[in-house]
């Protein structure tokens, strides 16, 4: 770690979780601050510089959502990762609409958490993208000026809506875009409930850009919440994981997994 340690503020009312998170994160080169309440976190943010906030949604007091609202009012660009429970889809969506960068579902692994923290952190420090600059992620290249998309140098023919969706996702790669935000961006506010439209188009898009549409690596689904386009880091991790998986799964007969 030659770059400065990422300063993480953990906001969770459960001491057990803070205790479990601190040692591995410190060990892996993060600098940790803790708060047990939203109010405490807001106070601490005034006095202490922080790079990423890990914010639990369900807390006594003002709660995670309200804390997020106040953080956003004071620091619009500070990366905030929400910690939610599996069945809290509405809260996830609400937090994302309020400007949370991402969310992570309990119980999560440290590896997953670190990846999310790094992604959120990287995004803030990435150079500001020029509006019409080409976006290149993995083998996919999108040129806004020409509205063209290529994969491994081969042009991919997209309809107007497909392109709009892809642009919306790729320009915010790594982040979840909620269904309603995508629908609003592409079809307009009247269609923000029509998730089925989106599913149909995403299916078509996957057929065009993914090698294996039923097992996508670029265009990922966040169940009940939205879609995200993998960023370079996620692609790399994904490749590593599948390489590791391929090694460990070698004994499986070759005719297995016919889906």
């Amino acid at each position: 770690m030659n770059q400065p340690a990422i300063r993480v503020l953990i906001v969770d009312d459960e001491a057990a979780i803070r205790r479990a998170l601190r040692p591995p994160l410190v060990e892996l080169g993060f600098q940790i601050h803790e708060a047990s309440r939203g109010e405490e976190a807001l106070q601490l943010l005034h006095s202490t510089p922080v790079d990423v906030v890990l914010l639990d949604i369900n807390m006594p007091g003002i709660g995670g959502i309200e804390t997020l609202r106040r953080i956003r009012a004071a620091a619009p660009r500070l990366p905030v990762l929400m910690v939610t429970v599996l069945d809290g889809e509405e809260e996830k969506v609400e937090a994302l609409e309020l400007g949370a960068d991402d969310y992570i579902t309990k119980p999560f692994s440290i590896r997953e958490l670190i990846a999310r923290i790094r992604t959120a952190h990287r995004r803030v420090h990435a150079p500001v993208r020029v509006e019409d600059a080409p976006i290149e992620i993995g083998e996919i290249r999108l040129v806004p000026a020409r509205r063209s998309v290529t994969k491994r140098g081969q042009p991919v023919h997209l309809t107007r809506k497909e392109y709009d969706i892809l642009y919306c996702l790729m320009s915010r790669a790594g982040r979840v875009i909620t269904y309603s935000r995508l629908l609003t961006a592409v079809w307009g506010a009247d269609c923000r409930e029509e998730v089925e439209y989106l599913r149909t188009f995403v299916r078509q898009l996957r057929k065009k850009i993914e090698d294996d549409p039923s097992n996508p690596i670029y265009l990922l689904t966040d169940v009940y919440v939205g879609y995200r386009f993998a960023d370079a880091q996620m692609l790399q991790e994904n490749a590593e994981a599948s390489a590791a998986g391929a090694v460990s799964e070698q004994p499986v007969p070759e005719n297995a997994g016919g889906c």
Binding site: E14, A16, I17, R19, A20, L21, P23, P24, L25, E27, L28, V85, L86, D87, K106, P107, F108, S109, I110, R111, L113, I114, V195, E196, Y197, R199, T200, R203, S214, N215, T221, V223, Y224, E249, V252, P253, N255, A256, G257, G258, C259
Partner: protein, 506 residues
Amino acid sequence: MGASRLSGTYIPLRTMLGTRRPRGSGSRALLFTLESALGIVAVVFVGLLAHWFRWLLPVSVLLSLLVVVPTALLCGFWQAVVVSLSAVAVQSYVTARQANYNLAADPANSVTLLAFVLTALLVSRLSARVTEHAKEAESWGGQMHDLYEFTRRTLQMNLHVEPGSQLAELVHEIFALEAVVLFDADLHETYQAGFWNEDPQELAQNVYYFETSDDDSATGISRRVVRLGTVPIGSLVLRGETSPLTNNAIASLIAITFDRYRAFANESRIETERRTEQLRATVLDSLAHAYKTPLTAIRAASTGLSEMGKLSAAQAELVSLIDEQAGQLSDLTARLLKTARLDAGEVSVNAHPHSVRPIIEDVVASLSERLASMRVAIEVPDEDLVLTCDRQLMVMLLTQYIDNACKYSIFNTTVTIRAVQLNAEVIFSVHSIGPVIPMADRERIFDRYYRSSNASNRAPGTGIGLAVAKRAALIHGGYVWVTSEEDQGTTFYAAIPAPAQKRKVQ
């Protein structure tokens, strides 16, 4: 054993009926004698008047008639016969005592007597009949009134408690009976009111078991099998004065009240069950939430340990075991939570038209890890098949079915997932080759916490998955079933109502 005991108790009932006979007829004979005696006294008094006042003699026959007719009206025909015969005797005697009246010399006298007897008998007969009718009508009116009162009271009855004893008391009180006993076969309870010198329980149960409905006028005991439609549901034994028709009506009203009680109890039971279910769901829900925090801490700690990467191989192995098991606990908690929500009816159906194939594909993709050792075939003959449903619930249903197929199917066989439109339904099916589900289990397999005895040691599971699937289908107004044959494998089905029209999503 029960049968022999019952036949044993049948005999005392008979003997008891035998011993009761004399009491009723004795009092009736006494009354008859008394009424006849009064009539005779009146007739003799008329004779004496005729004897003392000569001028009354020609009308003494008419005066006697004045005695006979009221007797017939008030007491009855046979009393009137006795009185009129006595009148003839008295008349003959008085006439014979008159010096200036010669029986043989005055033939008109015998004709008068004969006419008197005939008139008396005729009038007696008529008046007795009128009286009888009047009495009957009066008694009918009274019984109708009683029945009406009984109906009214049974309708107002408190059905929160068993109605048997209330009914017995009511019948006893309203119809002014000596004793009542009522048997409720469903609850196997007898209820009595009034005094029985016989064991009323046996009495009532015998009526039920031998299905004897009769009226014994000699003993005043009436027995009725209480039936709902044609099904016997109890019995009723009454002692006292009622008509057979009234007894039938009482038995019918009792049957209806029993039935109302059952319906009421059933309704309250369902309501109670619903509340228990809700409470259970709430408890489950809070439990599942309470588990989340420790699970998160365990997971973070174990994955943290392996991320820090200073573990020996053995330590790493143990840490990954902790992580894996925490993951399983977490899955289980999530599933419990889902069932709890479904059971509590807290799930709102968010129905929209969805293409069927992508739903299936999504579920298969999400289970790809589990399906790694299986072959999967998706068969949706109609690519554009659209179903209006709650996507989340359908995903849950299919996940459970496919997950179940994974658990119980033989390694490296094919799991086939089909969806076809059949009339007004879309039928989903998940077919796999595995152990046959015993016939007895096929219904109950969809019940919560039920696990087939056949497979209880074979696969991990909570026994809630299929209950979730069933609930998800029911919420859509659909239904689920399973077929399982040795040579054809096991297929789980879910039929979801869908009007037979297709709409392509634009």
